[in-house]
Structures are given as structure tokens and as C-alpha cells.
Subunit: 355 residues, 2 copies
DNA sequence: ACGTTATAGCCAAAGGATTGCACAACCCGC
DNA sequence: GCGGGTTGTGCAATCCTTTGGCTATAACGT
């Protein structure tokens, strides 16, 4: 295993150029090179002569010098990376929030190091450890447990962090106003005359799902039409979960006339279930989703849903994190949601449907 | 700025425990601690006594020692991280592939460091630099330009890399058999009697889009019904792109009777366009997508599409990367696709449609 | 012409983990 | 009881950058 034999092209095996390489070639000391390349315009006015600076930059470019972030991180005690934990990237909601996070972080000179926790406790814990090992300066936690149980270790570690998408207790977090969104969905269905409704309630330990369900159910209860407990079924957030849940709710003889899904993907799964049973969304059974993901409006029967500003939520979480890193107190931020009425909802059919 | 003032709980300001901390407390030398904690079961069998090992592990646990990956990476010349560049995570295809990558990488003890390039040249280049700076051991490139122009720098750098999702020339890559998939879509539509078809062709510089379009068009040409060039419109891969493209194709007086979209999202966008024009998918206009993302089968009119094993592609790319890192030659892998016929395709209507 | 002050650049010490080498103690056999 | 072979540990160099301290030179004022 002598030669490195990777890229066929260049000087394979020749290790990356370091400060020393540049210093030698340019005829300066590494410290000078470092200062030039870092543009240390800071206090001591430790600037190099412009001649030196130019020469050094020239050489650096020639040898393709890329600073070793590891070494730099070791010396200054910061990596410029923030860790991001998400349940899974194929959840469009998570992905969109993440895009917001990445963009905002980049704007402030931070890299993001993402990991998928798969909503699994052990993996979640391992993520935190790994991210800490890689020296992230802070953490954005996208899949906290509603009871905050996963966060105590984190808090003890002293690593600054904020929650996003799923809140938990008083921990600093940025989410949609999930409860309010649930209420909006409920009010809409109530206004359409629906009385017997079901909820595809999402994961029972996810703060956002809980709040959405709560807002929805309490609104129906206040209107004098409490949601039957057996009509609130836990699901995953994806379409498969929505489908299974809807199957269960609709196959029962006295199915509900409307469904509220705590995610658009689950709502689409419910649409699949409806279709299989020959039911038409918006006419036979109404369906309301959550988030308003981009395809919602393009469906052949466009989805009524509660819009949440996902990307903004991601961006805001970075701002909040930065504040927390500065030692500021850290707040609980909730973005208002907006009901988007399309065609999967319609007036309630006669109290008892056939079939 | 004396106290650190982050986590309120624990010993804030107390820096992370290091090897030295553990060594002192356990009464051993840091080198011994290092060996124990790394389980250096390697060749020299220079193991520590089990007494020492136990004590050391005990102490490490007590003080919550987390190794500093930066420092370790500096010393051994590897970080255990592979960089991943994707156009954007909200593209479900990219996200799914990434999930495969992450999982497979983790299985082999690697972390992934993802970045979104937004399909922008400058950003793409910056991603590579940043990933190199962070010392990734290798790179998985998910948004190569078809002409390979973005890859020469990379090749020169000597960093091992493979392409995924979008191939380019003879560079090692893992993709679906995009051309074959395009053919399958075409054969299906031909069999249904469609002669006048349009293509939502994706980004003109993306290898996968190009190949899918090519496979499709060549099959129609071979059948004696070449696709009119003005009916092949470039689009983005998302639903907005598909919608705009379909609007353009269908608004022309003599619209095609079928559309092939190089992504499911674009296909769904096309469905939106159809709906707006009062056209029924599968009856008035047939639509074929690509990838078979999970919701495809749950749509109210389920989507006919060409299935590609996205997650597997991601996983395989890691395997290939590992091989390349070992100095093996690096191949071009293409996974076969499978046509999934659902309900957005049907027999071609009379040669000229009304309206 | 000499003292004073910038300026440009070098020196060397971290920072935390890994690892080849050296060393001491111990075991065994004869 | 001593040589040869293990075995468990310690020593110290090394990876690359950053940065406070320091020196030498140049510039400037009177």
C-alpha cells in the first residue's frame, strides 16, 4: 500500500499543501502566511506588506492551498459548524426546514453537519455524541421528544442548542403555531357542517403532532362535537402512515365525514385510501392536510391544508441559535399558520353515508 | 466575556474533558488511555491490563469524555467523513438517495457531511472547497454537470470521489439506467397508441435528465414517430417546473396526447396544469413520471411512472466509493428501472383533441 | 544625530489525540 | 539464577494552525 492511487491525474500521494508549503515557497514564515491568508485586519494592525501579501496569495493559489479546518478548529476552540438533527430527510418538511437552516447558517459563516435520527432514541443519542465529537459549536434539534426527555443530557453538556419543528416545554424552539393551525383546520370543517371527524394524529411523541391534534380536538369539543377518541389514530408522518390510518378510520362502518392529517404526506396517503374505497375527496369525505408542501396545489384534487412557513422556520431557528450562543435567554417562537382552502374539503354529506 | 454562559445547568465554562483529564484522574498516561479507549486490538497486541482498562473506561464514563474528532483527524490523516453534494434536499429523489448514502456510510464507520449546491456553479465549487477544508476523506457528488466540467478540479485534487444520480462520461458513478427507463416510458406510450408526445426534459445539463430524454426520444424516432423538437422543453425537476412546462406544451393549439416527465414531481406539476385546463389525466392526456416516489401511488389519479431504486443507488454509491478509495478502478453502475403502470396513462384519444 | 514609534516578520507555544520506540517488570526454561 | 521473550506503560514527536510576544529595521521628529 505504498502509492495512494486515487485520482489518476495529479500528484497523487502528494499530501495537501499546508501553510508550511506555502511559507517555504514564498520565502516567509508560516505565521506571516497565516495572517495574510486570514486577512487578519484585526486590532494589532498586524498586516503584512502588500508585496508580501500578494506574493503569498499568489503562491497559495498556485499550490492550491486549502486550509485544514481540523487544525484551525483545534487551535481556536471553535469549528464553525452547527449540528442539525432531523428525523429523516425524505420528509419534505424536514428537508425544507433544513434548507432554511443551511442557507441562514451559511450566511453567518457556519457550516451544517446534518444527521438523521430516524426517530429512534438510540440513534438520536448517538447523533448528539457524534456531533459533539466533531466539535460542532451548537446544535439544532429537529426531532425532540415532546417530554424533553432526550434533552437533559444535551443541556448538561453545555452545548448551546435550539429546537426546531417540534417544540418541547420551555426549551428555546422555533415552530409553526401548531395548535392554532389545528384550530384553523377544525373551524373550517365545522363551518362546512362536519360533525363526525377523524384525526391522523402523527407520532404520539412529536410535539408538533400533539399540538396540531390538540388544537383540532379542542375546537371540536368547544363546538359541542368532541372527537371520538377512537377516531384519533397515531400515524407516521409519511403517506404510508396516512394511508394505513385512513384505512382504519374509514373501514369502520360509521366512518367520519372528514379527516384531519397532521402532515400533507399523510393526507395524500389518506387520499389513496379514499380512492381505493371509491370515495371522492371533498364530496364523500373531506381531507385537510398540514404544511402546504409545493405539490399540494398541483394534485388532481388539490389539497386543502394549513400552510406553515417551513423555510422561514428553519432560518429563524438559526437566528435564535445565534442569540442563544451569545448568551441571550432563548425564547419559544411560533409562526402563524394560514388555512389554504382547495378542493379536498366540501360540505358534509348527509349524516350517515352509505356503504 | 469571562464566563461562557451557555447551558445554565452543568459546569458551564468547564471545557470538555480530554484524554489528559481522564489520564490524570485514572492515574495513567494519556497514551495508555488512548489505547484503551480505542480498543487498539490491532497487531502489536499492545493491550492494557484489564484492570487498567476497566478503571480507565470507568473514569471516562464518569467525566463524560467525548473524543475530539478534530484532534484525532489531525493526527491520523483521516476524518472518517465523506462529503456529499446534492442539488437540494427538498428534491425527494436527492433526499432518498442521501438516506441510502448516510445509512451505508454509517455502516462502514463514516459520517456524512452534506451540502446543497442549488445547482449553481459557484456554489458547487465552494462546496468542494469547504468539504476539502473540513478534511473529508472522499466525496459523493450528486449534481455533476453532464459534460464533467465541474469535475476536473476535483480530479486534480486527488480526492477520491464518485458520482451518484447524475453520471458524467467515464467517471465512476451510480445511477439508474436512465436511458433504459426513458425507453420503457416511450414503449408504454407507443403501445397505447400515442404518437404526438411531449417531454418535460429536466435540466439540460443534468446527465440523468439528458439520458431519460434521449432514451425516450430515440424510441419514438425508431418507431417512426420522432418527437417534435419544440415539444421537448427543459424544466426544473420540481413540480413548479413541470407545471410551467406542461402549460407551455398544452396551451399550444395542437397539444400532445401524452407527456413524459423526467421526474415525478414534474409529472405532478403537469397534472396540476392538466387540471387547470379541464383535462383529465389518463383520458385526455397521459402522463408518465420517473422514480416512483412514495406518494405516486396514493394520488387520486395514481401516477404511471418509471421506478428507480433510489435508496439502493445511494447505498451502492458508498460501496463504489469505498472501492475507489482502495485504489480499485471505479466503474459506471446502472440500476435497471421498472415501469409501473397506474392510471395517468391510457389509450391515445382521437388524433386531434378538441379544445 | 539620536531617541521614539510604527511596521514587518519571526519564534514558539499551544490545542488534543495517535503511535513508534524504549523501558521495566515479569515469566519461562534450563 | 540468568538469558530470551512477553507484556503493560510511559515518552515524545507529530499532525497543522493560530496568536501573543519579541526583534530588527525603517521612518520620523526635533
Amino acid at each position: 500500500m505504498t502509492a495512494v492511487g486515487q485520482g489518476k491525474g495529479g500528484r497523487a500521494g502528494a499530501r495537501r499543501a499546508t501553510l508550511a508549503t506555502v511559507a517555504d515557497l514564498a520565502g516567509y514564515h508560516v505565521s506571516t502566511v497565516s495572517r495574510v491568508l486570514n486577512g487578519t485586519t484585526v486590532p494589532g494592525a498586524r498586516s503584512a506588506s502588500s508585496a508580501a501579501a500578494e506574493r503569498i496569495r499568489q503562491v497559495a493559489r498556485e499550490v492550491g492551498y486549502v486550509p485544514n479546518a481540523q487544525a484551525a478548529a483545534l487551535r481556536r476552540q471553535r469549528t464553525g459548524m452547527v449540528g442539525v438533527i432531523m428525523a429523516r430527510m425524505t420528509d419534505t418538511v424536514a428537508a425544507t426546514i433544513y434548507e432554511g437552516v443551511e442557507r441562514a447558517a451559511a450566511e453567518h459563516g457556519y457550516q451544517t453537519l446534518v444527521m438523521n435520527s430516524w426517530d429512534d432514541d438510540e440513534t438520536r443519542a448517538r447523533c448528539v455524541d457524534l456531533l459533539m465529537a466533531h466539535g460542532v459549536d451548537a446544535l439544532i434539534h429537529g426531532d425532540a421528544l415532546a417530554d424533553g426527555s432526550s434533552l437533559q443530557v444535551l443541556e448538561r453538556s453545555g452545548l448551546p442548542f435550539v429546537l426546531v419543528n417540534r417544540g418541547a416545554g420551555a426549551y428555546p424552539s422555533v415552530t409553526a403555531d401548531d395548535r392554532g393551525g389545528g384550530r384553523q383546520a377544525a373551524e373550517h370543517l365545522l363551518a362546512l357542517g362536519h360533525r363526525e371527524v377523524g384525526v391522523l394524529a402523527g407520532l404520539p411523541y412529536a410535539g408538533n403532532a400533539i399540538e396540531r391534534t390538540r388544537g383540532f380536538c379542542e375546537t371540536f369539543a368547544e363546538a359541542g362535537h368532541p372527537v371520538r377518541p377512537d377516531r384519533v389514530v397515531p400515524t407516521t408522518f409519511d403517506s404510508a402512515g396516512g394511508r394505513t390510518g385512513a384505512d382504519r378510520l374509514l373501514r369502520a362502518g360509521d366512518g367520519p365525514t372528514a379527516l384531519f392529517a397532521v402532515s400533507d404526506a399523510a393526507a395524500i396517503g389518506a387520499l389513496g385510501s379514499l380512492r381505493d374505497q371509491g370515495l371522492h375527496p371533498g364530496r364523500d369525505v373531506s381531507v385537510v392536510g398540514f404544511n402546504d408542501m409545493p405539490i399540494a396545489g398541483d394534485l388532481t384534487v388539490p389539497l386543502t391544508t394549513v400552510r406553515s412557513p417551513m423555510r422561514e422556520i428553519g432560518e429563524r431557528s438559526v437566528a435564535l441559535l445565534l442569540a442563544v450562543m451569545e448568551g441571550e435567554p432563548g425564547e419559544v417562537v411560533r409562526f402563524p399558520t394560514e388555512l389554504v382552502v382547495r378542493e379536498t374539503t366540501g360540505p358534509a354529506p348527509g349524516l350517515t353515508r352509505g356503504r
